[in-house]
Amino acid sequence: MSAYILRRLLYAIPILIGVNLLTFVLFFVLNSPDEMARMQLGEKRVTPAAISNWKREHGYDQPLLFNESAQGLAKVTQTIFFQRSVRLFAFDFGSSDNGRAIGYDISQRMWPSLAIAVPVLLVGLALNISVALFIVFFRATYLDLGAVVLSVAMMSISGLFYIIGGQFLLSKLFHLVPISGYDTGFEAWKFLILPVIVGVIGGVGSGVRWYRTLFLEEISKDYVRTARAKGLTERRVLFRHVLGNALIPILTGVVVVLPLLFMGSLITESFFGVPGLGSYTIDAISNQDFAIVRAMVFLGAVLYILGLILTDISYTLVDPRVRLQ
């Protein structure tokens, strides 16, 4: 297995270079270094000298991808792309264009994101699977039909509706929890209740429908018939056999998103005033802060690759037939 993991990690290098290159091209198609400088220096009284001074200091006075005036290898290395990309591979994110240490900011902002994302994932998973199994138990009945209709209705509603509706009901109308905000340490609990409830309820529709489909596919297989034939109760069939065998597709969906939980959710964090990573990238795009954009895209790509590798490894744990070679 270690050879397989090593090979996957090596594959990741060209992928990350490609992601980095694509981010770079897309960003600089839309933003020139002059515009970045203007954004950082403010709107009033910005002189051309100040712009060129800022570019020089931040290394944006070099050519983007190819330096014709340089010699030899420097044609490639004396460019914004090279200078800005190499350190990423050592996970040295450097400073944002307005001078803040990106690594420090990420390390501070990922915890609030996790504080919401992990409970939402765990509670949502437990609830969705339980409800889906229950529905499967009553498959092909009006209960099943009603649950599917309700699920479709729930997944058709915008996430923003759940957020605003949750804030209106629980905070504004019933005064049960703060409408938004966050705090560090144990004090954070009262701020997490509402986003977690909203996150779980917002995901129930699609989750239940997805798991129901998985379970229904399993329940028609021969081993389930065999289990029933030997006298097992329907509950035992569902929990022990169907659920166990449906774990592979469940893991596919769950493990791959585990590393991405760090990245947070833009809308949720924005509406609930949670200082997570969700808005970090969006704010950076708005502020034309390329240093943060490339760091966050790179980190997202790394985490996604890590998630895929973890998914593959988890297959071997739940299905003895799978071997990584």
Binding site: S32, Q40, G42, K44, R45, A50, N98, F174, T233, S270
Partner: protein
């Protein structure tokens, strides 16, 4: 209660009570009467009861810790994280909201007096310029501007002022600065400024001001006003050039080089006096002295922050200000909240004793002569979205609030006379409304370099005047700004000297004075002007082609669509086809820079309350295309320029008013702008927040605020009683749904195939 109900529900099911009757594989866990189910329901109920019992009298939705109740704190919000908190770089209102409470420049604006008036802050008095000629000989105050080579400002620093407690000033037993040679080991465990155990202070000196002015010239600090100061402070440009090679050195070396550098035009005369030598005559320089750019900076702070390892922890001067003001930034988490706490070393400024007629009656002078600040702390919470911000204000968790368009109708109604008043809902909560006209302008500009809409021919003038009449800004303000704007008759907003009220202040080319108010000229007059301009019915009389004008719009969201459609309709009144070229702000700036646009919308916020700060937007040598200045219309009328050169050196008074009147007449006749409107600020505050007076020039207003904490706490509790029946309802719903479901499961399992 829940357990009892559960027992009742499962009474008809005897199977659970008899273990011998259980079938193989039946799990007792699903039996509603099983001990596990009972225990689960009991735990759930107990948790709910504990939650209900454990919350005391404080509202459950209170976002602040219990320990903060009844503390002398101002609660407010911010929507954009500040980019810079270094006074050398900061240049936006968002940043000044924090910075101006911490740093004290030599001067400030008096809170109540209008027109805005400068008064001393960290200086002992407002400095008077002393003029000298090229030979250094003193000149009288009445000397003509062309004879004046330099203006000397001698500024006396208030004695006994001390900096806030800060680790940069901490000293060890030997008297040496303790944290000036930090090693990696020293920084282990340090993540915030508060992690440094020791702090110190020292007295403010003239050298701190001199050092800050030198910082303005340092190329690596990117001060936005460096370009302006190069033109005005003697030796400023030369210092910047001399420091350019230093920019590549490490931060500590840069600080040392800056300390050692000499700025010819600025010197400390004695420990509490410094002199600034300004090139020529520049009366507006005093206003700059009221901006944080000129606040004192202790060199110890810059050395402290420049040390290796500090930047990696984001402990930088740009993030942790060090000042002498009434507050100090004690928590700096711009993703969550910023906390300003009372500076224990504050020198004890008192509340102003002078106000406008009516201020005393309005209770605005109740605290006159009392030492400030009145509050111990101000907590600014990040709120990016309007809905939670507004609701928290209504719940009493923010003391004051702006007014978004979404909440406008809920809070304010506009009367028949156009005046705003609060709705009954707001009045019942004791909320108060403050309105004021901003010292800013939002205008529609013509590019004067454009061959169609620009130029100084009579034809072009008439075309622009026709458009000025056709674009109904009253409607624009009503639709798109909820009436929050005063229609502009020229570039100068109210509160700026030179602004005229009444008939004498209207733009006669667009308005007529009728029944004591300005009335927009009829559209028929605009069509006549179009004919005179050579565009009858919006067609070029020579070619017969329809007139088409490009409008450079910054439009990024769906909300902009209606605004653009409205603008197109205004031009259609004259038969002009308006081609919308919407773009992002970057491209827009690029087009302005290159002069490729025809019509555009932009705005300006005053740096200081002087007509020069608005009229320079139309000054030819300040043109954007040729001179990279702020005159985006590239308007260049020689007579206007001459009058501007004359006006900028004049003191306020009838003579200056006469010159300003001439300039306004020229500008109105040429019509390089549709003057647009002056935005009005609407702000709401709760009855417990006192001394809330809108001063659009002063940013350091937190020190004047006072809070009735007892009233606030009482009303918060009254407004936010927790309503718990939904919780019991949910519990009942769970019981109602789960128990029949379990019963159905069990029944289904026990049923036979036939």
């Amino acid at each position: 209660m829940g357990t009892h109900n559960t027992t009742e529900t499962c009474r008809p099911v005897p199977a659970c009570t008899d273990p011998h009757r259980r079938v193989v594989g039946a799990a007792p866990a699903i039996c509603p009467r099983s001990p596990r189910v009972r225990a689960g329901v009991a735990v759930l109920a107990l948790t709910l009861l504990l939650l209900l019992a454990g919350c005391g009298k404080a509202p459950w939705n209170d976002p602040y810790p219990d320990a903060q109740r009844l503390t002398n704190t101002v609660y407010t919000s911010f929507s954009e994280r500040p980019k810079h908190l270094d006074p050398v770089r900061s240049y936006s209102a968002d940043e000044y909201a924090f910075l101006a409470q911490v740093y004290e420049p030599p001067l400030q604006y008096q809170l109540l007096l209008r027109p805005y008036q400068l008064v001393p802050l960290s200086a002992t008095e407002v400095p008077v310029a002393h003029y000298v000629d090229a030979q250094g000989q003193p000149l009288p105050g009445t000397a003509p501007a062309e004879q004046i080579a330099y203006s000397d400002y001698l500024i006396r620093v208030r004695p006994g002022v001390r900096f806030q407690p800060h680790p940069a000033f901490a000293r060890d037993a030997s008297g040496a600065l303790r944290y000036q040679r930090l090693t990696a080991a020293d920084l282990r465990g340090i993540n915030r400024l508060a992690d440094f155990s020791d702090t110190g202070t020292r007295e403010l000196t003239a050298a701190d001001f001199v050092y800050q002015i030198k910082r303005l010239a340092a190329p690596w600090l990117h001060s936005p006003i460096a370009g302006v100061m190069q033109e005005h402070i003697q030796g400023f440009k030369e210092l910047g050039d001399r420091l350019a090679p230093v920019a590549a050195q490490d931060p500590v070396a840069r600080v040392q080089a800056l300390r050692a550098a000499r700025l010819d035009g600025v010197e400390a005369v004695d420990p509490l006096t410094f002199r600034i030598r300004v090139i020529g005559k520049y009366p507006q320089f005093a206003y700059w002295l009221a901006m944080p750019f000129f606040a004192p900076m202790p060199w110890e702070a810059e050395v402290f922050y420049a040390q290796p390892g500090m930047k990696e922890r984001n402990i930088v001067l740009d993030w942790y200000p060090v000042g002498t003001g009434p507050f100090m930034l004690t928590e700096n988490n711009p993703n969550l909240r910023m906390v300003l706490s009372r500076n224990p070393n504050f020198w004890g400024e008192t509340f102003p004793t002078q106000g406008m007629p009516g201020d005393a009656a309005a209770g605005l002078l109740k605290d006159a002569g009392r030492p400030m600040p009145f509050v111990d702390q101000a907590i600014y919470s990040l709120e990016k979205e309007d809905i939670p911000r507004w609701n928290k204000f209504l719940q009493g968790y923010y003391d004051s609030s702006g007014l978004s368009s979404d909440a406008f109708d809920q809070a304010v109604r506009i009367g028949g006379d156009g005046g705003p008043s609060l709705t009954e809902e707001m009045q019942s909560r004791g909320i108060e409304l403050l309105t004021s006209v901003e010292t800013s302008i939002s205008y529609l500009g013509f590019n004067m370099l454009d061959p169609v809409v620009g130029g100084y021919s009579e034809q072009a003038r008439l075309l622009r005047r026709a458009i000025s009449i056709a674009v109904d800004y009253e409607e624009f303000v009503s639709i798109f700004a909820n009436g929050r704007g005063l229609i502009a008759q020229g570039p100068l907003p109210p509160g700026i000297s030179g602004y005229r009220e009444g008939e004498g202040g209207i733009n006669p080319y667009v308005y007529e004075w009728q029944d004591g108010r300005p009335v927009r000229r009829d559209i028929a007059q605009a069509r006549t002007l179009m004919e005179q301009a050579g565009y009858p019915g919006g067609r070029d009389a020579k070619t017969g082609r329809a007139l088409s004008i490009n409008y450079e719009a910054v439009a990024t969201g769906p909300d902009d669509k209606s605004r653009l459609a409205w603008m197109r309709k205004q031009f259609e009144k004259l038969g002009i086809e308006l081609v919308i070229r919407s773009t992002d702000y970057n491209r827009f700036q690029e087009k302005m820079q290159n002069g490729t646009g025809q019509v555009y919308m932009w705005g300006w916020n005053a740096d200081y309350p002087d007509p020069e700060n608005f009229l320079f937007l139309l000054y030819g040598p300040n043109g954007k295309v040729e001179h990279q200045g702020e005159n985006a219309s590239n308007y260049d009328n020689p007579e206007f320029n001459r009058l501007f050169d004359q006006m900028k050196y004049m003191e306020d008074g009838p003579a200056r008013q006469a010159v300003v009147d001439q300039m306004l007449e020229i500008a109105r006749r040429d019509a390089p702008w549709l003057w647009g409107f002056y935005p009005k600020a609407f702000s709401l505050h709760h009855q417990w927040l006192l001394n809330a007076n809108p001063n659009k020039m002063a940013n350091n207003t937190l020190k004047y605020r006072r809070v009735d904490t007892v009233l606030r706490e009482r009303l918060r509790v009254q407004w936010n009683p927790p309503i718990v029946w939904p919780l019991w309802g949910i519990l009942a719903l769970v019981v109602v749904l789960v128990i029949p479901a379990l019963w159905m499961v069990r029944r289904r399992e026990r049923s036979t195939a036939l």
